[in-house]
Structure formats: structure tokens, C-alpha cells
């Protein structure tokens, strides 16, 4: 697993992929947080809310872009056969690739601590910010990124075409993020079902953690999504043997 992890990580940072995705994430979140209308300076409140509202949307595009090649390319070039006939378990290959992509996601989140520090310092008085909420949001964002990464890895096993993998992953991420919220708004579910439908989506749990309360139900939800899609990845890889 370590070998695969290193190889994938090397690939991200020896090509432009790694720098580009981190750079674009910071550029978009940074400019919206600081410079655009409605940013911190314009709005006047010491809050990182706009960062945490925007980051999932950016991840929705960036994470599928990072993960789309992971299995698609191997399938397309035939190197999957090379990997699968080495003394590696399927799960080693999956976890190696998954963790490498996750590290890239974490690397793109880490620099935003500078935003937090700046807003913290800008507060009047200094530190007048909902620190608990911010940490909760970071944890939520991490889990959200980890879930999107699992979805992206899963989708890239479905096709040997990277574009197809990307579109599938972006749609599936968007669906798990928003779709359940939208469905729960349908009038026919106003009888109380709407809550349960909402709970199926990522957004509800992301919002819940963002309030600064780390609820085990939310953690279990995110872990389930990750395990579900990684198990799906394993099943698809094994389907070559059917």
C-alpha cells in the first residue's frame, strides 16, 4: 500500500496536478473571502462562513478532477493488469490511491488556516470569532472532502475514459451533496419524512458539524459514505474476475 501511496503522491507533485488544484482552490476561496463583494472586509463581520459555504462547491469540481485519472488511466493504458498481477491486494491499491488523493485535499485545506488566523487577528476585539464553529467547519470540510474523494475514486473505476469518470464523479458528488435537500423540500414530504431524506445527504451533516458540535451521528454518516464507496470500488475491480 505504501508503494502505491508514494507513487500516486509523486505523480501529483511531479506534474502540475497537485499545484494546480491547490492553487485554484486557494485562489477561488481566497478571492471570494477577501476581495469580492460580500467578503470579510466588505461584510464587516469576523466570520469564515463564506469560505465554508464555498469550499464544498469548489471541491465538487476539483476533487473529481484529481481522482478521475486514478483508475481510469490505469485501465486505459493497461497498467491495471500490471498492478493487479503484483503481490498487492486490491484493497492495498485502492487505499494507496485514496489516501494519496486525500492528502492532496488536506494540503489544499491547510493553507486556509492563514485566513482563519487573519480573520482572528482582525476581529475587534482580537479573537472575536466563533473558534468552535471554525474548527467544527474544518472537521466537516475534511470529512466532506474525504467523502468526495471516495466517490471520485469509485467513479474512476467505472470507465476507462477520464472525462466520463469526471462527469460521473462530479454529478454523484453534487447529488449526494444537494439532491436530498432538494427532494426533502417537495411538499409531499412535509409530513415529517423530509427530515430523514435530508439526513441522507452530505449537506445536512456538513451543516450540523459546522455549528461546532461534533456529533457521532455525523461522523458515522461520513465514515459510512467513505466505506460504502471504497467497497464499491473494490467490487468493481473484482468484477473483472466474473
Amino acid at each position: 500500500m505504501i508503494a502505491i501511496f508514494k507513487k500516486e503522491l509523486n505523480h501529483f507533485f511531479s506534474s502540475l496536478i497537485g499545484y494546480l488544484s491547490i492553487g485554484i482552490f486557494l485562489l477561488i476561496t481566497g478571492s471570494l473571502l477577501w476581495f469580492f463583494k460580500g467578503g470579510v472586509l466588505d461584510y464587516g463581520y469576523a466570520t469564515l462562513e463564506s469560505l465554508f459555504n464555498l469550499a464544498p462547491v469548489v471541491f465538487l469540481i476539483l476533487i473529481p478532477a484529481v481522482t478521475m485519472r486514478s483508475f481510469s488511466e490505469e485501465k486505459n493504458m493497461g497498467t491495471l493488469e500490471l498492478l493487479m498481477t503484483k503481490p498487492l491486494r486490491d484493497i492495498d491499491i485502492i487505499l494507496g490511491k485514496y489516501l494519496a488523493a486525500l492528502v492532496l485535499v488536506i494540503f489544499s485545506i491547510l493553507p486556509t488556516f492563514i485566513y482563519f488566523y487573519s480573520v482572528y487577528k482582525l476581529g475587534a476585539p482580537v479573537g472575536n470569532i466563533d473558534t468552535g464553529g471554525v474548527w467544527g467547519s474544518y472537521i466537516g470540510l475534511l470529512f466532506l472532502g474525504a467523502s468526495f474523494t471516495a466517490i471520485g475514486i469509485f467513479c474512476s473505476t467505472l470507465s476507462s475514459n477520464q472525462i466520463v469518470a469526471f462527469i460521473l464523479a462530479a454529478s454523484l458528488c453534487a447529488a449526494t451533496y444537494w439532491l436530498f435537500d432538494i427532494i426533502s423540500d417537495f411538499p409531499m414530504f412535509s409530513n415529517g419524512l423530509d427530515y430523514f431524506i435530508q439526513q441522507l445527504g452530505i449537506n445536512a451533516h456538513y451543516k450540523s458539524i459546522s455549528r461546532g458540535i461534533v456529533d457521532t451521528r455525523d461522523i458515522i454518516y461520513f465514515l459510512s459514505v467513505i466505506v460504502l464507496f471504497l467497497a464499491g470500488t473494490k467490487t468493481v475491480l473484482e468484477s473483472r474476475k466474473w
Binding site: 505504501i2 508503494a3 502505491i4 508514494k6 507513487k7 509523486n10 505523480h11 506534474s15 493504458m77 493497461g78 497498467t79 493488469e81 500490471l82 493487479m84 498481477t85 503484483k86 503481490p87 498487492l88 491486494r89 473483472r240 474476475k241 466474473w242
Partner: protein, 304 residues
């Protein structure tokens, strides 16, 4: 490290890609696995290396079942897949280091990588990306990654396809040199290659084994028939040739050449020389065509 296949079959939908094949390869033998395209060679190799599962039947490598002990088997086997897939954006040495770490060579990794680079003649190319290499060098990288953990069994799927004649000879020699003391299965459809490299040939057609024997036996099983090519300066009448004792057929070739088929076991060249002398013809070519692998292959795979 023996390889044993028992009634191994693979069915895709309704199509039988490999239909109940069985054979035994003792330690140290180099076996050529022959067959036309789509005969089931690659499928068999993919099953042996654990990439796909057999529909039925079983196979063992060194007594280890290819399904139950898949990981152990993979440690013993070096495999070069068909078309030699490679990570084209990795550097040669970087790639071999990656493969070494997959095989968990640990402290030996560095020396092993260096050894493979020098054995396979990749030294001048080691700093290049695999995608920049010529086909011959890329093939060497493929062989290097298959051999880096010193496997006891080598499975090479068309190791020489698409190479130019010089590269072909290089790769062939490399396999012969590295294949000593190893059990090797290599697939190909180049017949001379089997004659040059292998002890034994297994010919497969439409998923079924049609021949499995030592090369000498395969090429010598049809000695009742001799084929001789002759050429004269003069124009020679066909009936004159057919009048020679033992000549059954005469086919005109270009110029004044003839292909003669004889059913005699004695060397026909003496009789032909006498014939030319007696009729005052000038014999400028006389050559006995050996019954070679190519014909054996054609015979066995065309009949169906």
C-alpha cells in the same frame, strides 16, 4: 517450480476463450505458447497470473493454487503483459524503484534496480521517461520489471512483438540469458522464435491444445514427404521432372525454378544431380526445405 494446468477453462458469455486445457511444465523448461490471434494464449496467461479467474478447472504454480494462494503465486511469478503496458510519465529508474518497493525488496532494492538496468542494457536510457523510449528499450523495461524480484517463473506475453530485427535478436538473447534456471512460458506467433528459444511448444487453437511436444518432435513428425527447390538455367519440361523416380509433384516457381515433392525417404538431391547431368541441364540451385515450425503451425491451426 513446476506449472500444472488442469482442465482450465474461461468462458466469456457464450464464447469459450479457453476450453479445458491441461498441461504440465517441469522446472527449468522454456515453453513456447503458440496460436493464432484470439486462440486463448493471453487469456490463459492472465489466468495464470491471477488477473482474471478461470470459469472452471484449476492451475498450480510450484504446488500453490493460483486462486487460493494468489498473493504467494504472484511473488513467484514475473509477468510481462501483452502490449507491455507502462507508466509512460515515470522515469526508468523511478519506475523500477516503484516495482521493487511493490515486491518489498527493502534494502536490496537499490542494488536490484541497478542490476536490472545494467543486465537489460538500459544504462544509457535510465534518466529518460519511459514514454520517450523506443519500443525496444520499452520492452527491456517491461522485462526488467518482470525480473526484478528474481522470480522462479517467467510469463511473457508476446515479448518480441513489434520489434525490428536487431531489437528482436537482442530481446531474444536477453530472455535466453535471463531464463536460465527459470521456468519460462512465452507466447508468440513468430515461429522462428520458438525454434530459437524454446525447448517445447504448446500450440493452441480456438481455446484447445492442438499440439504439445518438444520442438524436434514437432518438426520431424512428417519425414515421409520431402520438399526440394531446384533451379536450372534451361527451360525444363514438367513431364521430364515427374519422370524421375520418387518425384510426385512439380510446381513451377519463378524463372526456371521448380518446387518438387517427393515421397522417398532417401535424399533426392543425388537423383536430381544425375538427372541434370544426363539431360545436359545446368543445375544452379538445389535446396531441401525442412519441415519447419511455420508449416506445423499452419497445418495444425488451419484445419479446423
Amino acid at each position: 517450480m513446476s506449472i500444472t494446468l488442469k482442465n482450465l477453462s474461461k468462458t466469456y458469455g457464450t464464447q469459450k476463450a479457453v476450453d479445458s486445457i491441461s498441461f504440465d511444465i517441469p522446472t527449468g523448461q522454456i515453453v513456447g505458447f503458440l496460436g493464432p490471434n484470439g486462440a486463448g494464449k493471453s487469456t490463459t496467461m492472465k489466468m495464470l497470473t491471477g488477473f482474471i479467474s478461470p470459469t472452471s478447472g484449476s492451475a498450480t504454480i510450484n504446488g500453490l493454487d493460483i486462486e487460493k494462494d494468489a498473493l504467494e503465486v504472484r511473488k513467484l511469478v514475473g509477468y510481462l503483459p501483452e502490449n507491455n503496458p507502462q507508466y509512460t510519465d515515470m522515469y526508468v529508474a523511478e519506475y523500477l524503484h516503484f516495482v521493487a518497493s511493490v515486491y518489498q525488496l527493502g534494502k536490496n532494492a537499490n542494488s536490484k534496480v541497478e542490476e536490472m538496468i545494467s543486465i537489460t542494457g538500459l544504462t544509457p536510457e535510465r534518466k529518460k521517461k519511459i514514454g520517450q523510449l523506443s519500443k525496444g528499450y520499452r520492452q527491456r523495461v517491461g522485462i526488467a520489471q518482470a525480473m526484478i524480484h528474481d522470480p522462479k517463473v517467467l510469463i511473457l506475453d508476446e515479448p518480441t512483438s513489434g520489434l525490428d530485427p536487431n531489437q528482436l535478436v537482442d530481446i531474444r538473447n536477453l530472455i535466453i540469458q535471463l531464463g536460465k534456471e527459470k521456468t519460462v512460458i512465452l507466447s508468440t506467433h513468430i515461429m522462428q522464435e520458438v525454434q530459437a528459444m524454446c525447448d517445447r511448444a504448446i500450440i493452441i487453437n480456438q481455446g484447445v491444445i492442438v499440439a504439445d511436444d518438444r520442438i524436434e518432435m514437432l518438426t520431424s513428425n512428417d519425414k515421409k514427404r520431402q520438399e526440394i527447390e531446384v533451379e536450372f538455367i534451361e527451360v525444363v519440361d514438367k513431364n521430364l521432372l515427374l519422370a524421375i523416380d520418387g518425384i510426385k509433384e512439380a510446381h513451377a516457381l519463378k524463372g526456371n525454378g521448380w518446387k518438387l515433392i517427393s515421397d522417398k525417404k532417401t535424399d533426392m538431391r543425388v537423383a536430381l544431380f544425375e538427372f541434370a547431368k544426363n539431360n545436359q541441364f545446368t543445375l544452379i540451385k538445389i535446396q531441401v526445405n525442412e519441415h519447419n515450425m511455420e508449416e506445423v503451425f499452419k497445418d495444425l491451426t488451419k484445419k479446423k
